[in-house]
Symmetry: C2
Subunit: 161 residues, 2 copies
Amino acid sequence: MTEHFDGQEAWAAALRAHGRRVTKQRLAVLAAVERHPHSPAESILAAARAELPELTAQSVYVVLGDLTDLHMLRRFEPPHSPALYETRVGDNHHHAICISCGRVEDVDCAVGHAPCLTPHWNPDAKPMTIQIADVMYQGICQDCQQAQKLPSHSPSQEKEK
Amino acid sequence: MTEHFDGQEAWAAALRAHGRRVTKQRLAVLAAVERHPHSPAESILAAARAELPELTAQSVYVVLGDLTDLHMLRRFEPPHSPALYETRVGDNHHHAICISCGRVEDVDCAVGHAPCLTPHWNPDAKPMTIQIADVMYQGICQDCQQAQKLPSHSPSQEKEK
DNA sequence: CACTTATTTTTAGCAACTCACAATAAGGCG
DNA sequence: CGCCTTATTGTGAGTTGCTAAAAATAAGTG
């Protein structure tokens, strides 16, 4: 317990910079998210409790929500999954999710800064001012592909009767 | 009540083609989704009940789930919103959501068939086999932009203390 | 028309959050 | 350094959106 003083202090500074108070709860949450990117609130709670056992679920929800609003954290919601959080913000990157095992990988933005970012509006649509474009790739990771080829019986696909 | 026999029959055919039974509930749900694209289950229930008052919420969930699996419907889940459904499937198009009022607009795929679709994998990542890429644009629609410029008091933005 | 079984209904149940309010403790101040 | 204000956390309850189990109903088949 000696090498995370710098991270500690960095987060503290960031909190102060945003006019937030530096509490052990917030530091614990931040550290937990940093160490377990792409995690849901529940896992973050569990991870944070390792170093702060009395931490509450509510606090985690409140903190995650607040820090996300401040853009100190980024939240995204894959289909059929609770919201996931990560500390990597500001660089607009995307995510690939394995529909089989749920694993999430980061994917850098394909097209530089603004991704596939300028939508082609239908002639009849009233264009919006786009602020961000979340791209969510869905596929099958190598491990799961392997598993499907193997012996097994049910590929658990469509049933179509 | 005379002009929707064709739609009726088209959906019935599609259901049969997928080995599903043609029930008034399924037809009502399909019709409701078609008439109210980008709607959550609850709204679809309400809309469908207009023509089939005894329809159950459960049935709607079951039907929506089943038809989505069959790709007769498409589901997507904007942040902070329940799942939305639409009948426009097969043409990979995307969605733009107004973060202020929640309105959803369809956006045709920018890059032809596969959208911005080939992720650039980080050197250390094990690439997945991508099947689909959902792009979710978030921004502010013209109406809401207007509203924000106007007199009002709280733009309901960050608070940053 | 009878029969099989998909589909719907009924009734519970649950996960992931949100809300309201009391208790606690940062950070500013004298 | 102790006091005070108010952000933050904790407590306890409540909600939404959806899934599960089992009984009732009704498509489609022969």
